[in-house]
């Protein structure tokens, strides 16, 4: 039991390393191997979560070296996002079985699963890292595997998008590494709790501010916060759909979780007032909500629409962090988890539809909802959830954000949030209208068959979670409130 925490991150990474060997003779085994690892990860995360709920946050000292000297892994309320990682991971791996056969060239298929597992392992490691260097390493594991995954499907646009993503990602990684270096030079420590303590004694204000700025900017790029989102739409839209789901649901959350991890380091400094930074984040979040929604409104391509919607939703989360009241942060953090489920539902459902129909713009896909009723229902549930209609999972984040905006005495932000939500409603209604209520433009649409079971099952399961996650949302909300209280308390 004790060693479950390192196992959670290590299992996918080790399995990923072994995967090419497993698939050497039998390429078909790669899928089964990856799905088994995903299921194992889900089980481990479930056990970790049970322990968190019973005993509260717990740490693991790697190699028996006590922190702050050794490497510390810590499973706290923020790390509970691992559940989202595992759920989406399993769904994506199962879904990939049939999808990759068509979308990924055979010689790359083993690598594709291998990279997906590296990605998931890195994400779990990031969520559980308690020291800055591991935070950086896991972030790089995730980023590098993501660049490659975007290009996995092949094609010119994908390669270009991957390159763009690589450039933006490399810059942000360098910024974070730079800041980690400064903090280590100033405090002599990498353990986050320890760094927070020691920063209070640091007299050099310039380097501290530089580190704060570099960390914020770096994580903002990773989170694709407007106006640093330019790399996102192409990368997410041109990647294979299961990869898009991982990128949009999980990988962008690195930036947000990273911010939530590092901002408290600076909260204990009596000479540093974080309020202007919070104010800036709140404004950027509010602008991102509206700008992302407006941009999505102009898209004809289904996956591009979903990609811009991610920009908008990151805005919600950052707005919550920026408002910095307990309720607002609860809303932001609970949305980190639920947006992961919802966006994965949407991308996988869209992927299934595009895979079956062979078209990807709304015009061409008119009438497809009747040809693929089950996928259509799943997509509709996802749409209602992302719009934030009660009682779906998407409503909870908005509800607490609205209350938080009032709690902070900023009703203006509440109004902006609602305006954004309305815009989002409009562009998602376009999807439903096209799928159900418009006569098909393409004759082929009428002959489209429902997706195979291995694609349908994960999509339906996720869609059900979008609904049940709202109805039985007290657990995630309680965890988010815990994490928010810790953030607000500093350290």
């Amino acid at each position: 039991m004790e060693h479950l925490l390192p196992l959670a991150a290590a299992l996918p990474l080790v399995a990923a390393a072994l995967l090419p060997a497993v698939a050497w003779r039998r390429p078909d085994a790669a899928w089964g191997w990856a799905v088994a690892v995903g299921a194992g990860l889900l089980g481990i995360v479930g056990l970790l979560l049970r322990r968190l709920l019973q005993d509260g946050p717990f740490s693991y000292a790697v190699g028996g070296w006590a922190p702050p000297w050794g490497i510390e892994l810590r499973f706290d309320a923020l790390s509970a996002f691992s559940l989202g990682i595992a759920l989406v991971g399993v769904a994506v791996l199962v879904f990939s079985g049939r999808y990759a056969q068509a979308a990924v060239p055979p010689q790359r298929r083993a690598w594709y699963y291998s990279l997906l597992l590296v990605n998931l392992g890195g994400l779990v490691g990031f969520a559980c890292a308690a020291d800055l260097f591991n935070l950086f390493v896991c972030m790089e594991l995730v980023s590098v595997s993501s660049y490659a995954l975007v290009a996995a499907g092949g094609g010119r646009i994908a390669a270009l998008a991957a390159f763009k993503y690589l450039v933006a990602g490399a810059v942000s990684s360098l910024l974070v590494l730079f800041a980690v270096g400064i903090l280590h030079a100033l405090t002599g420590s990498l353990n986050m709790a320890d760094v927070a303590l020691r920063l209070a004694d640091v007299e050099a204000r310039g380097p501290v501010l530089l580190a704060l700025g570099a960390l914020t900017a770096g994580f903002m790029v990773k989170a694709a916060l407007f106006p640093l989102h330019l790399w996102l739409p192409d990368a997410h839209a041109s990647a294979p759909s299961p990869v898009s789901a991982v990128l949009s649901a999980l990988v962008v959350k690195l930036g947000v979780l990273g911010l939530a991890r590092v901002l408290p380091l600076f909260a204990g400094l009596d000479w540093l007032v974080l309020a202007p930074l919070h104010e800036g984040l709140a404004w950027l979040g509010a602008i991102a909500i509206v700008a992302g929604a407006l941009a999505a409104l102009l898209q004809e391509d289904l996956k591009l629409m979903l990609a811009y919607s991610t920009v908008s939703n990151i805005g919600y989360i950052v707005l919550g962090l920026g408002l910095a009241t307990p309720l607002a942060m609860t809303g932001g953090l609970v949305h980190v988890f639920y947006h992961a489920l919802i966006k994965a539902t949407l991308f996988l459902a869209a992927g299934a539809i595009i895979h079956q129909a062979g078209f990807r713009t709304l015009r061409d896909l008119r009438g497809v909802g009747r040809a693929m009723p089950w996928t259509g229902v799943a997509l509709s549930l996802g749409v209602l959830a992302i719009v934030g209609l009660p009682p779906t999972a998407g409503f909870l984040g908005k509800w607490y954000l609205l209350l938080g905006a009032l709690e902070a005495g900023r009703p203006g932000f509440a109004v902006a949030l609602l305006a954004g939500a309305l815009l989002i409603f409009v562009y998602y209604l376009r999807i439903l209208n096209a799928f159900y209520f418009r006569a098909p433009l393409r004759e082929q649409i009428l002959a489209v068959r429902e997706a195979p079971l291995s694609m349908l099952l994960p999509v339906m399961a996720l869609a059900l979670l979008c609904l049940l996650g709202g109805l039985f949302g007290s657990g995630p909300v309680a965890l988010a409130a815990l994490a928010a209280a810790r953030l607000a308390g500093g350290g």
């Binding site: 209609l389 009682p391 409503f395 209350l403 309305l422 159900y436 949302g473 007290s474 909300v477």
Partner: protein
């Protein structure tokens, strides 16, 4: 007295189950009709079994989900909710029969009847909502579920009307969400039944914003001017849908929400002190008159009905805004009076259209000679709108006038007279031409409407008469409205 009772969730649940059955197994006409009619009847019986308790002031409650944590999706049946649920479930039975006749040979009947059942499920959810958030939840779901019905024909005009409908109602929903969050922020609770959630929040600077957001939000579906624009456009929908939108579900959800906001969220005492409601009353009075004038100018049957609906709904808003017991009684009872009279009119409009193909008012000339039963139903409804004694509409006008005098607003009496005259001006000429002029240009062989279309119209017309003469009969809607007023804390008993 509050009693835990599972019937409270079963009532909306039955229609939900019916919708699922229709979607999955509804390809066969016979099965589909069985499901819809069966569910409608079971639900009506279920709600009727709750009636005796409601008349005595028993409140049935049930808590379903803890969403969001601490607030919850909860149901609560008090007199007001019971009244709304009873009206909508009675009308659902009639509308279902009518729709089965009307939608014969139409496309996508599975989708139509599935969403039809969902609408009624959500309407009862609205009626039984125990807190503002549950009310909002079902209110939004109602918007979503009516959309496929509005655009059922899938013509460009229908899609355009659907877009307009969504733009209005979703914006309204967003405003209600804002208001709900404000109430939660100011009062720390959203539960109904306290006679004024915000009673302790007097003097808060956000209070006016909360009032405007909630009233404007619900005002969209209640067609309070200038938020009424979606309704006349939505007339492109099939007639049973128009009936559902106008008489049963959508617009009544709006006025019901307004009643909840006034009686349960703000409370009569707080509003009397704040004085916001005098503005609301003035707006309602303006809507009553302006919409009547607009109705005069219409030549299309369904469009005139739409404007008449806008005018009639503001009776309810006015009654609530006057804050007196008699006015509250008028407001509640008019939910039923308007519903039955209006749905009769829509049934007639649809029957005439299906039988003769006629949709314009002047084309009704002489129809009394060929379709006497249909036009009898029409005449009863028209007389009720004018407010002739012994018809349902008179009861409303009488108590609304009394309520106005109670509030010291003598102009309400004049307004009732003016509105009666206007109603007479746009309905009685039609009645005259239908009965006293010879039919013109009819194809030979045109006869009375088919029974499936005619029977619901006659039953609801009979109900209009019943509502007009049975105000002293125990167990009738009027006595339930009296009970609702008596048990709404803060209004006081209507003698």
């Amino acid at each position: 007295m509050e009693v835990l009772d599972i019937r409270v969730v079963l009532a909306p649940g039955i229609s939900l189950l019916c919708a699922l059955l229709v979607f999955v197994l509804g390809r066969h006409d016979g099965w589909r009709a069985t499901f819809t009619l069966g569910a409608a009847l079971i639900k009506l019986v279920l709600i009727l079994t709750l009636l005796p308790g409601s008349l005595e002031g028993v409140v049935y409650v049930y808590r379903a989900f803890d969403f969001p944590p601490g607030i919850g999706i909860a149901f609560r049946v008090d007199g007001l909710g019971m009244f709304f649920a009873l009206v909508s479930s009675t009308l659902w039975v009639l509308t279902t029969i009518y729709a089965i006749g009307y939608m014969r040979d139409q496309h996508d009947r599975v989708r139509f009847f599935g969403f039809f059942a969902l609408c009624v499920s959500t309407t009862v959810g609205i009626a039984f909502a125990a807190n503002l958030l549950t009310l909002l939840l079902f209110y939004e779901l109602l918007t979503i579920c009516t959309y496929p019905l509005v655009i059922h024909d899938e013509t460009p005009a229908a899609l355009k009307a659907g877009r307009k409908y969504l733009a209005y109602t979703l914006a309204g929903g967003a405003l209600i969400l804002l208001g709900t969050v404000l109430v939660q922020h100011l009062a720390g609770s959203l539960a109904f039944g306290t006679g004024g959630l915000l009673a302790g929040a007097a003097g808060q600077p956000l209070l006016p914003l909360a009032f405007v957001a909630l009233v404007a939000g619900f005002g969209v579906k209640a067609c309070l001017m200038p938020l009424h624009g979606w309704l006349p456009t939505a007339m492109v929908a099939p007639t049973p849908v128009s009936a559902l939108l106008h008489a049963v579900a959508v617009v009544k959800a709006g006025v019901f929400g307004l009643l909840r906001v006034i009686y349960d969220v703000f409370g009569v005492e707080l509003l009397a002190g704040l004085g916001y409601t005098s503005w609301l009353a003035a707006l309602a009075a303006f809507t009553i008159l302006a919409a009547s004038f607009a109705a005069l100018a219409q030549v299309n049957f369904k469009r005139r009905l739409a404007w008449s609906t806008i005018s009639q709904l503001s009776y309810i808003v006015l009654g609530a805004a006057l804050l007196t017991p008699f006015a509250a009684l008028a407001a509640i009872v008019h939910i039923a009076n308007q519903a039955f009279a209006k749905i009769t009119m829509f049934f007639v409009a649809g029957a005439v259209e299906r039988t003769t193909g006629r949709t314009e008012l002047r084309e009704l000339t002489g129809l009394g000679h060929v379709m006497p039963w249909t036009m009898t139903a029409f005449t009863i409804a028209a007389l009720s709108f004018v407010g002739v004694p012994l018809f349902a509409g008179f009861v409303t006008k009488w108590y609304l006038s009394l309520g106005g005098l109670q509030a010291g607003a003598w102009w309400v009496v004049l307004l009732m007279l003016a509105s009666a005259l206007l109603n007479a001006a746009y309905w009685l000429p039609v009645v005259y031409r239908a009965w006293f002029q010879p039919p013109r240009g009819l194809e030979p062989g045109v006869r009375e409407a088919p029974l499936l279309l005619l029977a619901p119209a006659l039953v609801s017309a009979a109900y209009v008469l019943l509502l007009g003469v049975s105000t002293r009969v125990p167990g009738m809607p009027f006595s339930l409205a009296e009970a609702a007023v008596r048990f709404v804390s803060g209004i006081g008993a209507a003698p």
